[in-house]
Symmetry: C2
Subunit: 142 residues, 2 copies
DNA sequence: TTAAGTGCAAAATCTTTGCAAATGT
DNA sequence: ACATTTGCAAAGATTTTGCACTTAA
C-alpha cells in the first residue's frame, strides 16, 4: 500500500503532527478498513479520543480516508484511492463485511451499475457484501 | 401496503399492546423507511423512548422490520416483505438514500449479483444508491 | 392470576464544544 | 511570533440496564 504520511499531509495542506502521522500509519497497516473503536483501542495511549475524532473528520473531508458504516452504525476507515478528492469519494468498489471477525475489506471489484426508476438520480452506489472472509474461512474449525 | 398490525403481532407470538400497534402503523404510513429519530419525534408523546428501542429491536429480531443504516449511522426501519423470517432478512433489493430529504426508499429492483474473490463467501449483499429522489427532483428550484 | 411489557430513573457510551497549553511553520 | 492543533473538562446526545407498576391473555 502506497503510504507516505508526510507527503499526504503536505499535499492536502495539513500541518504535520505526530498524531496525524500515527493515524495514517495505523490505518495503512491492514488492507481491511479499521473501525473507529479499534483505532481508539490501539492509539488510546498516544492520542486523545477527541483528537482522533477531529483527525478522522478532517481526513474524510479532505478525501484522504473514506468512511464505511457497518451494520451497527460504527464508522470504519480506509485509505482512499489517489483519485479521491474533497468533492468526491471514489469508493465505488464492493465492500466485504465479515460477519465473523467484523473486518471490512475493500474488494478489487467494481460495484455493478443499477438502473434507477424514473425520477431517481443516483450519484454514487454503495455495495456491501456480508459473509465470511478468506481468513475466517481458512481458520474455520470443521 | 399490506398491514394488519394485530395479525402481524399474532403471527409472531407477540402480545398486542397499543405501543406496538402504533409503531407498525407509523412505519407503514410511508413507503420510504423511517429513521429512528423521526419515529421518536412522531411517537414521543405516546411512547417512551426506551420502549421504542425495545419494540424496534424485537421487530427486527422477529423479521417484522428491517433496519437500514444510513451514511450517518442512523437506523432506519421499513416493513419486511412477508418472506422475511427470524433467521434471514430478504432485503436484497436496492435502497435509495436521498441526500436531499434523507429518506431511504426500498426500490423494486433486485440487487445485482457480485462475484466474490476466492475464499470469500457472501451470504447477503446490500446495495444502496445515494442521490436525489423523485419527490425532491420534481420540487427542485431551477 | 401471572408472565410480559411499559415507563421512569439512572448508568454507560458516544460525540461535540470551549478553552488554555503545546506545537508546527 | 502566530495561527493551528492538541488535551482536558464538561456539555449533549444516544443507548442500555434495573426495577416497580401496569397490562394483555
Amino acid at each position: 500500500m502506497r503510504l507516505d504520511p508526510s507527503a499526504i499531509l503536505k499535499e492536502h495542506e495539513l500541518k504535520h503532527t505526530k498524531q496525524r502521522v500515527r493515524v495514517l500509519e495505523e490505518i495503512a497497516l491492514d488492507t481491511a478498513a479499521i473501525s473507529q473503536p479499534e483505532l481508539e483501542k490501539k492509539l488510546g495511549k498516544e492520542i486523545d479520543r477527541v483528537t482522533l475524532y477531529r483527525i478522522l473528520n478532517i481526513y474524510e473531508d479532505k478525501g484522504i480516508l473514506h468512511r464505511i458504516m457497518d451494520m451497527n452504525g460504527t464508522a470504519n476507515y480506509a485509505i482512499c484511492s489517489p483519485s479521491c478528492t474533497e468533492d468526491h469519494h471514489h469508493d465505488e468498489h464492493v465492500h466485504f463485511n465479515c460477519t465473523s471477525c467484523a473486518k471490512i475489506y475493500c474488494l478489487e471489484v467494481n460495484a455493478p451499475k443499477v438502473k434507477m426508476p424514473a425520477g431517481y438520480t443516483a450519484k454514487t452506489i454503495n455495495t456491501t457484501a456480508y459473509g465470511i472472509c478468506e481468513k475466517c474461512n481458512s481458520s474455520k474449525v470443521q
